[in-house]
Structures are given as structure tokens and as C-alpha cells.
């Protein structure tokens, strides 16, 4: 069974902390994505990567950075966490031959910044 695994289901961090959200996929997918989901706003794309060491800004990259040192792992970094970054974070992956099926998502990380 193919999987996208996010390392934490729930996280509570303090304002100003540096936060790492980890995502690993076992499908040898080229493309990986980070979204956040907020009520009334749907899923918004933060960053994506279509190859190792490549990254592209999504629609809301401010306050975030990413790292993709290996094909299977895509990390989202909150440089200095703020309360407006409290959200559900979703990682996804895809491959070029998967247009019919879109992405495979992880189960999400619920981050609370206090």
C-alpha cells in the first residue's frame, strides 16, 4: 500500500520557535507538495518541489521554507512560528503519469502555535 507519511499528527509550539514538519513518501514520486487547510479557505499551496534540491513557491510561501535533500523526503520549515500559522498542514506527492488520480496525501499535521 503506497504511503505518504507525516511524522507528527499533532504539534504544539511556542511563538518564535523554529518548527520542522517532515514528510516521507515511498512511491518514488518526483513531485511533492505542502498545503495548509483552514476553515473557509480550503487547501492553499505553500511550496512544492518537482525534483531533488528543487523548490518552487506556491500561493502562500511567506514565513515558510522547504528542504528536499532526498527524493523521498520533503520538509516544511517555519522559521519563526507565529499564531497565524496555526493550521492543518498536509503533504502530498505525485508523479507525471498520475494525472488521472491527482495526489496522494498524508494524514496531516495539526499545528498549534501558542
Amino acid at each position: 500500500d503506497v504511503k505518504v507519511t507525516q511524522s507528527s499528527r499533532y504539534l504544539v509550539k511556542r511563538t518564535g520557535e523554529k518548527v520542522f514538519l517532515e514528510c516521507v513518501q515511498d512511491m518514488d514520486h518526483e513531485n511533492m507538495f505542502w498545503y495548509r487547510q483552514d476553515p473557509g479557505l480550503g487547501l492553499r499551496l505553500i511550496y512544492f518541489s518537482y525534483d531533488v534540491k528543487m523548490k518552487e513557491k506556491g500561493d502562500i510561501p511567506e514565513g515558510y521554507s522547504v528542504s528536499r535533500e532526498k527524493k523521498e523526503r520533503f520538509s516544511l520549515i517555519l522559521e519563526s512560528a507565529s499564531t497565524n500559522q496555526t493550521s492543518m498542514y498536509l503533504c502530498a506527492s505525485s508523479t507525471q503519469g498520475q494525472l488521472h488520480y491527482g495526489y496522494t496525501f498524508g494524514s496531516g499535521t495539526r499545528l498549534t502555535v501558542v
Binding site: 518526483e30 480550503g42 487547501l43 518537482y50 525534483d51 502530498a92 491527482g102
Partner: protein, 115 residues
């Protein structure tokens, strides 16, 4: 600029009846459209998709209709079941320069199927 819109935040339907979820888009470059279903505390799961060159795709109880001239698509669920209660996201796909695709999501519709 919301390129994919779901104007109904919620929908309530009786078990056994038809559920119709709607979605509008603005970008003519989208080449695939997809519907995802999401339960609380889980990631979205793929439900059904349609190519921009088709106007209908059916999979069991789920049918997606695409009206390209109106830039509108809809998801029909017949018959609706209590287990269908979830948030449904419409998504539109555009090709990435480096390969693969990028999905733009709507804001979601919470479907509640009542007994």
C-alpha cells in the same frame, strides 16, 4: 484570486437522495478536474476525475459532469449514504514546467447525509 470556487460551504441531504456538489473555475488552462473527499483528522482521498476533453465520467455512485463553456463542474452522488458525510474539495490541474501537475483546490463543501 480564487481560481477554483465552491460557493456552497455546506449541503444537507437525506439518505437515498441525490447529492449535487458544484464547482466553478476561471482558468481555461486547467486540463483535468478532480474531486477529493476528506474526513476530519485525515488527509484528502481521491474520488473521481475528468479530463477537460470529456463532459461526463461515472464511477459507481459518483458521476462528475463538466461544462467547459460555463467553466462549471458538478459531482453527483446517487444514492447518498451516511458514510458520504465529509468535506468535498474540487480541484483543477495544470501542468508543471518540470513535469507532473499542480492542483488548485476550492474551499470545500461539507456534505451531511441524514438518516
Amino acid at each position: 484570486d480564487q481560481q477554483v470556487k465552491q460557493n456552497s460551504p455546506s449541503l444537507s441531504v437525506q439518505e437515498g437522495r441525490i447529492s449535487i456538489l458544484n464547482c466553478d473555475y476561471t482558468n481555461s488552462m486547467f486540463d483535468y478536474f478532480l474531486w477529493y473527499k476528506k474526513y476530519p483528522a485525515e488527509g484528502p482521498t481521491f474520488l473521481i476525475s475528468i479530463s477537460s476533453i470529456k463532459d461526463k465520467n461515472e464511477d459507481g455512485r459518483f458521476t462528475v459532469f463538466l461544462n467547459k463553456s460555463a467553466k462549471h463542474l458538478s459531482l453527483h452522488i446517487v444514492p447518498s449514504q451516511p458514510g458520504d458525510s465529509a468535506v468535498y474539495f474540487c480541484a483543477a490541474s495544470a501542468a508543471l514546467t518540470g513535469g507532473g501537475n499542480k492542483l488548485t483546490f476550492g474551499t470545500g463543501t461539507q456534505l451531511k447525509v441524514e438518516l
